[in-house]
Symmetry: C2
Subunit: 360 residues, 2 copies
């Protein structure tokens, strides 16, 4: 029996961006407080958190002070320094645990983990120098994508190698960081599964959503995704297998490529995920509440999808469309409280219900 | 054209209870900050507000400091001292305005206002002394209810007069406060309409809900309410008439008695209302977001009801049922972050979807 965190208990959240903000709101709905830790001042999640600490992840004193105020610790991003985890783990349980972070922080470790599970991925090889790169290109074939093993997001730290003569520039773009070469996958579209696992070991997955990217950034997620019944089942089983293998507690995003030969795992994210924002309008319990329930030792909630939903990210100047969006019937608006509009910056999202029946 | 408050603007909220808390969350969803003012330390809304001021409503300096940080001021309760309003109105617009407060703060003024509009209420008479009471009882008949004109809520400040010999005790219970005698109404059930009016003057009302009380406290609200089509239309027209007459900006709760002779207005509340909590699971835009939209100068959102919902208040020890509720499929839980359980205290509520279709 896992103890449920009671009203007034505090969840520590590492990272105060929009994901932390929506986690804080979900925690409040369940009577729980949040304490946000972020190196930047005035993080979006600070608007709705009970407390905010502004300090770098290298500040051991700040980490300990933060850790002393919380009952459990979770995070909105995977690139938490190991040394910070070493400190925080002595203060309160960190959920999901560091094994999930270790695997997902490094593209090579992640691919190897998935391969060990018998799951299919794009062909890959480690690249530490130009010799590795030449060998990897020969083995995997071109075109391929060179990616840093760590700290990549939204298409950053990636270079396409279309032909052999691109290789030198691509390697230079990595600036000496350990990298991985991934073969191109001939896929028809990308879907993602938002899976959850409770402290008691129960697993529940949301219906897969179909993703569209532009410029390396997610633009829309639509449910239902274009999948056969068998693919839908496969997608959920893949997510469940990963969650169980990692003894995971919380919500995870699993991106999958749909190919003629079946589903390939693109990447996993040990946190709530942009492609799961549709759950706010499509389910009784959204991904944010599901994550809070899991890390707080609560039973998982009902994530049955009862509506068709199209989620659209508002990126950069998209947010200037707000007057029209506010007047659009049936558009559910979610803004992140970011006053400064920058190109490529995620400012908010809109969910539109496009159909579906709520069953009793 | 009314200006829409932009991302990062701040809404001041007087009162930091559960209504203020849910207003703060709704504001955050729209990218807006909140600053809560409450005389009590650690109010529930403080957990999710950007800033909290703890000071009495008589502290003019604190009011001015608070007022200087906000772009608009609203409130979660109607009993705001007039002197505080005098100060706050010099700092920022107060929405809804003081006319709505003036009318709803005093049961006699409210009844007279409704009668002037041609709306039906229970028979009533002002009672300032024992002579008034005897005359009122003779005119209205017994049984009747003696109520203080001001500061009553959840059944407090009320005494039933079943027969003439109860009158002295009932008058003593009022402790000299100006009162009103209201005749009993022979009604079959109570419904309430949550209405909204935007700064631009648009009006939208939610489908009426049916209320059940026990011990003077709301226990459940159920939609749809038992009403004929004509009654449903009447209910909405009554609310719209009140909103327009008051040049109202924001959400208002209107409680109605359903009688064989039609609808009678029981009372109005110039704020979001407990009987509107079902909108969180029944509509794209709930009453809290609708209120924030109105006071922030946004267009009203889509309040079409797309599901049948039963809202149950969790009062006092009801909250100990949480482990069962958390495991109940389809129960949407909303807790207010109150650690101390007291008899009669509203600790949270649960919305259950009992049917209905989400249309495209």
């Amino acid at each position: 029996m896992i103890d449920m965190l009671p009203t007034g208990a505090t969840i520590g959240i590492l990272g105060g961006g929009q994901l932390g903000r929506m986690l804080a709101v979900a925690a409040a709905r369940l009577g729980l407080r949040t304490h946000v830790f972020d190196p930047a001042a005035n993080p979006p999640a600070g608007d709705v958190a009970h407390a905010t600490t502004t300090a770098p992840y290298e500040d051991e004193t700040a980490l300990r002070t933060f850790g002393a105020t919380v009952d459990v610790i979770t995070f909105e991003f995977e690139n938490i320094p190991t040394a910070a985890l070493d400190v925080l783990e002595t203060c309160a349980p960190v959920r999901p645990g560091r094994n999930a972070l270790r695997v997902s922080q490094d593209r090579l470790t992640e691919k190897a983990f998935l391969a060990d599970l018998g799951l299919r991925t794009a062909p890959f090889a480690a690249v530490d120098d130009e010799v590795d790169l030449a060998e990897a290109a020969a083995e995997i074939g071109l075109p391929a994508i060179l990616k840093t093993r760590r700290f990549g997001y939204d298409g950053k730290g990636q270079a396409r190698i279309m032909a052999a003569e691109d290789a030198d520039q691509a390697f230079a773009d990595m600036a000496g960081a350990p990298a991985i070469l991934e073969g191109f996958v001939d896929f028809s579209h990308e879907v993602s599964v938002i899976g959850a696992r409770s402290a008691a070991g129960d697993v529940a997955c949301y219906d897969p959503g179909e993703n569209e990217h532009a410029g390396g950034i997610l633009r829309t997620t639509t449910v239902p995704a274009r999948l056969t019944g068998a693919q839908r089942t496969d997608a959920v089983l893949v997510a469940a297998q990963i969650l169980n293998k990692l003894d995971y507690i919380g919500v995870m995003g699993v991106e999958l490529f749909v190919t003629d030969a079946g589903l390939l795992v693109n990447e996993i994210a040990p946190r709530v995920h942009n492609s799961g924002h549709w759950t706010q309008q499509g389910c009784s319990v959204d991904q944010f509440e599901q994550h809070i329930r899991a890390v707080a030792g609560w039973p998982l909630g009902d994530g049955t999808r009862y509506a068709d939903v199209a989620m659209e990210n508002l990126i950069g100047e998209d947010v200037y469309r707000l007057p029209d969006l506010a007047a659009e019937s049936g558009a559910s608006i979610h803004l992140y409280g970011k006053s400064e509009v920058r190109a490529g910056r995620k400012m908010g999202h809109v969910n539109r219900v496009t159909g579906g029946t709520r069953s009793t």
